[in-house]
């Protein structure tokens, strides 16, 4: 793990009421926007910043300022656990608050404020421990000073400092004012990991009670007096230009104030969102043109498919694949196809913005605060010190809230009308203007020798690049790492191995979707390994283990999941077991799926998933289990149901009736085992997802003998395959 500290002197102490956080985060409307902030505002009595991450108040509350967005992945709790443990705080005294958006709160590795890539715990673990250790040392020093005893005679535990020889005790709340004035230690001693009391123990999440009683504030729930609601009409096709619209507010109904052009969209502002929505229907907006007005699903599939016949950029080339394939006893070829996917988070995108002469406030459920600041600076001309981003809970991120289009539009509208504006996308807007997981095609060839060992693997992937638009600097020598991730960095030992990548341009906007390139690439790789094993007449488990002898992390999870699932155990007729493993975001995950298939209806019934995860040192085990459960269901939803349909140059899947998600009736039993084998710390938000679809498809093959190489696998596909076989 990178031991980077934030670039600024984050350990700088600040006295009560003058702290950086107060200056940054407690402006005008904070009270109405966040329940946590309200508590702080109601408690002005001596809360002291020991550094930018930690505030201790006289009632002993310890507030951790969390720079990462809570979108269900449990990051508020995990980061607070790290602080609490190192600080020797009492867990019941811990509170969390979303950190303001300032350089000091940037991710130490990304150097920007962003929640993504399953990195929050990995990147913040060391910096937060160090900050908490420094705060603890300051509290110890404050107590020693107060008692006039050597600090070495004092110990900290459960939110108090004790003078060991005399047994005297002072609570952190009694020490915080004095502690805030103590010189900040720059190299505080860290606890021995063996002494962790909180880290590593399943801890109820701090955000759960508010999410159960309805008080949790999402972007959608921000409001304050004087605010107007905005609905937008957006172009029906990619690249279409707005040519005309009705802008006479009087004819648009009561309560409608303003109509504002925002780029190629039109926003209508009203007293209520319902009025804005109704008025939207009367805007009579007309667009012209579009990037490709006849674009549809089959046209996109053709583009990707044609990509496979174009010359690619070689991302990896070990040995001599061409020669090895020529001399192989058997060559297997397969083509895998993956659809475009939508994020489909339950909270439609929305943003509340208020642009004033000297400041811009933005309340949003974002994953990417720095990008919101960037767009605010660009739209308002204010310097970034005058932009205040207030991060709320995120009602589902999955990568989709790294985009800031809705924030940009809300800022533009507020700037135009001079009022606070809450801009809400409808579900249809959200589906039609997402940044989709790109569709892709893989053509894979594998060579087996006479005894069924893999001797060559050639893999060509045609996919649209995400980073070309988002982080173009990531493309080096023509290789987009997220296009080939999960292929070129395989754990399998393959002597002759070639990976080629073709980046296909289409008008469809694409973006990060839980596990990014891994989400589709693992399907091709782990399905193909299975195909090779069957072609070689070998057990898919043994075939894999044989290629992982030098990769103990991957080997161990695979072996363990097979044991847990009873890999070689008996199965009833019509039932099958499928195996898949994948390494992504620093974490190994192996899965066994058990399915039964109804040959009449084509319905795949997933009976259970067994999951073994090794993500190295764990902070909150129950949350790791929850993330595996969630990733398995999201992966299954994609594998069985999800596909964005395109027509007439735009998106045709506009709501949950034509982009169905997995429901409870198709959710399998899930068993998760967390393996602790001394691996480095890995991420947990994403790595559970990539192996889901191949485990499923491999299980369907085991149950039926039919191989599915195209997602999603619908009942009609199954009926057709089984009727034909």
């Amino acid at each position: 793990m990178k031991e980077n500290m934030p670039r600024r002197d984050f350990l700088k102490a600040s006295l009560c009421g003058t702290g950086l956080t107060l200056a940054a985060g407690m402006g005008g409307f904070a009270n109405q926007s966040s329940a946590e902030t309200e508590k702080v505002a109601a408690d002005p009595s001596g809360s002291c910043h020991l550094n930018i991450w930690i505030r201790v108040s006289q009632d002993n509350a310890v507030t951790v300022l969390v720079p990462k967005s809570e979108m269900g992945q449990g990051v508020h709790t995990a980061l607070a656990m790290i602080v609490a443990d190192e600080l020797e705080a009492a867990w019941q005294d811990i509170r969390v608050e979303a950190a303001p958006t300032r350089d000091e709160y940037c991710d130490p590795v990304f150097e920007t404020q962003l929640t993504g890539g399953s990195t929050s715990v990995r990147h913040m673990f060391s910096p937060l421990r160090k900050a908490a250790a420094a705060a603890r040392e300051m509290l110890l020093a404050a107590a020693a000073e107060q008692w006039k005893v050597p600090a070495a005679q004092c110990t900290a535990s459960a939110g108090s400092v004790k003078h060991v020889p005399t047994g005297r005790v002072l609570k952190y709340g009694e020490l915080c004012t004095r502690a805030a004035g103590i010189q900040v230690p720059q190299d505080p001693p860290l606890k021995n990991n063996a002494a962790f009391k909180i880290i590593g123990n399943s801890t109820p999440r701090l955000d759960v009670p508010a999410k159960v009683n309805g008080t949790a504030v999402f972007g959608m729930d921000v409001s304050f007096p004087g605010m107007v609601y905005a609905a937008v009409v957006k172009p029906p096709r990619f690249g279409a230009e707005l040519v005309s619209y009705e802008d006479a507010t009087t004819s648009l109904g009561t309560g409608v104030h303003d109509v504002v052009r925002v780029g190629e969209s039109v926003a209508v502002c009203a007293d209520s969102f319902h009025s804005a929505l109704e008025a939207r229907e009367s805007l009579k907006a007309k667009w012209d043109g579009g990037t490709q007005t006849d674009l549809d699903t089959s046209g996109l599939e053709k583009l990707l498919s044609e990509g496979l016949s174009q010359p690619g950029v070689t991302a990896r080339n070990d040995g001599d694949v061409t020669a090895a394939l020529e001399s192989a006893s058997r060559v297997i070829t397969a083509r895998y196809e993956l659809p475009y996917l939508a994020h489909a988070a339950l909270e439609p995108k929305n943003c509340t913005a208020f642009v004033q002469k000297d400041r811009c406030d933005v309340w949003c459920s974002t994953q990417y605060q720095s990008a919101v600041v960037g767009v605010a600076v660009k739209e308002t001309g204010l310097s970034k010190d005058h932009v205040y981003v207030h991060t709320t809970f995120v009602g589902g991120g999955f990568g989709g809230r790294t985009e800031v289009e809705v924030e940009r539009d809300a800022i533009r509208v507020s700037k135009a009308i001079g009022k606070p504006v809450k801009l809400i996308w409808t579900r249809e807007d959200d589906f039609a203007h997402d940044f989709y997981r790109p569709g892709s095609c893989c053509l894979v060839r594998g060579g087996l020798d006479a005894v069924g060992n893999l001797v060559a693997w050639s893999h060509k992937v045609a996919v649209q690049s995400i980073v070309k638009r988002v982080f173009p600097g990531m493309i080096q020598l023509g290789i987009d790492p997220s296009a080939v991730e999960g292929i070129f960095d395989t754990e399998y030992a393959i002597r002759n191995f070639r990976v080629e990548q073709v980046l296909v341009d289409t008008p469809v906007p694409v973006g990060f979707w839980r596990s990014v390139g891994h989400s589709g690439n693992a399907f091709a790789v782990e399905s193909f390994v299975d195909e090779l094993a069957h072609a070689a007449g070998k057990d898919p488990l043994e075939f894999r283990l044989n290629m992982l002898k030098k990769r103990p992390g991957a080997y161990r999870v695979l072996q363990r999941v097979a044991e847990m699932a009873g890999w070689n155990g008996p199965l009833s007729r019509g039932t099958g077991r499928g195996l898949a493993r994948h390494y992504s975001f620093g974490t190994h995950v192996a899965l066994v799926a058990e399915v039964s298939v109804d040959r009449q209806t084509g319905m795949i019934k997933v009976e259970r998933f067994v999951c073994v995860v090794d993500c190295g040192p764990v902070v909150n085990p129950d949350n790791v289990v929850a993330q595996m459960e969630g990733a398995i269901l999201m992966g299954l939803s994609a594998a069985l149901k999800e596909k964005v349909e395109f027509a007439q140059g735009g998106v045709q899947s506009l709501n949950y009736d034509d982009y169905e998600l997995l429901t409870m009736s198709r959710a399998p039993r899930i068993e998760v085992y967390i393996m602790q084998s001394g691996e480095k710390q890995g991420g947990i938000g994403e790595p559970g997802l990539p192996p889901v679809a191949p485990a499923l498809a491999n299980a369907v093959f085991a149950a039926t003998g039919a191989r599915f190489r195209r997602l999603p696998i619908s009942p009609a596909d199954v009926r057709q395959a089984l009727g034909a076989s």
Binding site: L346, R427, A626, Y656
Partner: protein, 151 residues
């Protein structure tokens, strides 16, 4: 002006009677626990109880619930077995769909205090969760049901 009874309290709202109950709750009465998800009654995030029946408030005209008792997430007691079980099982992830899930589950247990697993799935199948909390929802309902007296 329409008169509403929500969580045992009376409210007046100056909206046309065809305004969806969802927006009256959220934007007029500041009861923001009830969530906007799809606007078409598909996802279930906006579920409330109307005289004890789980209803999609995005498709319920506010005028149609006059004289009826509406229950939202804010009106489900904190010690309700469902809310307690939701915390015990650590159900929510992002949490956005959970008020709808909870109201749907409250209706289920009110009508059938000890539902079979099959009945739980049938009752809950129309409420979407993108984070994949279904197995914990099921466990929480079973836990809550074991706390409800009588059979």
């Amino acid at each position: 002006m329409i008169a509403l009874r929500i969580n045992g309290k009376g409210y007046q709202a100056d909206v046309p009677p065809d305004t969806p109950l969802l927006w009256v709750l959220r934007d007029c009465l500041n009861l923001t626990g009830t969530k906007f998800g799809c606007g078409k009654g598909i996802c279930g995030s906006c579920t409330v109880l109307v005289d004890g029946e789980a209803s999609r408030s995005c498709r319920t005209p506010a005028g149609s619930v006059q004289g009826k008792e509406v229950t939202t997430i804010e009106g489900v007691p904190e010690d309700h077995p469902i809310k307690k079980a939701w915390i015990e099982e650590q159900v929510p992830q992002c949490g956005y769909c959970q008020p709808g899930q909870i109201l749907q589950a409250v209706e289920l247990l009110a009508k059938d205090p000890h539902p079979s697993e099959e009945k739980i799935v049938k009752a809950m199948d129309g409420v979407l969760c993108r984070c994949g909390t279904y197995s914990r929802i099921k466990r929480a309902i079973i836990r809550a049901s074991s706390e409800v007296k009588g059979k």
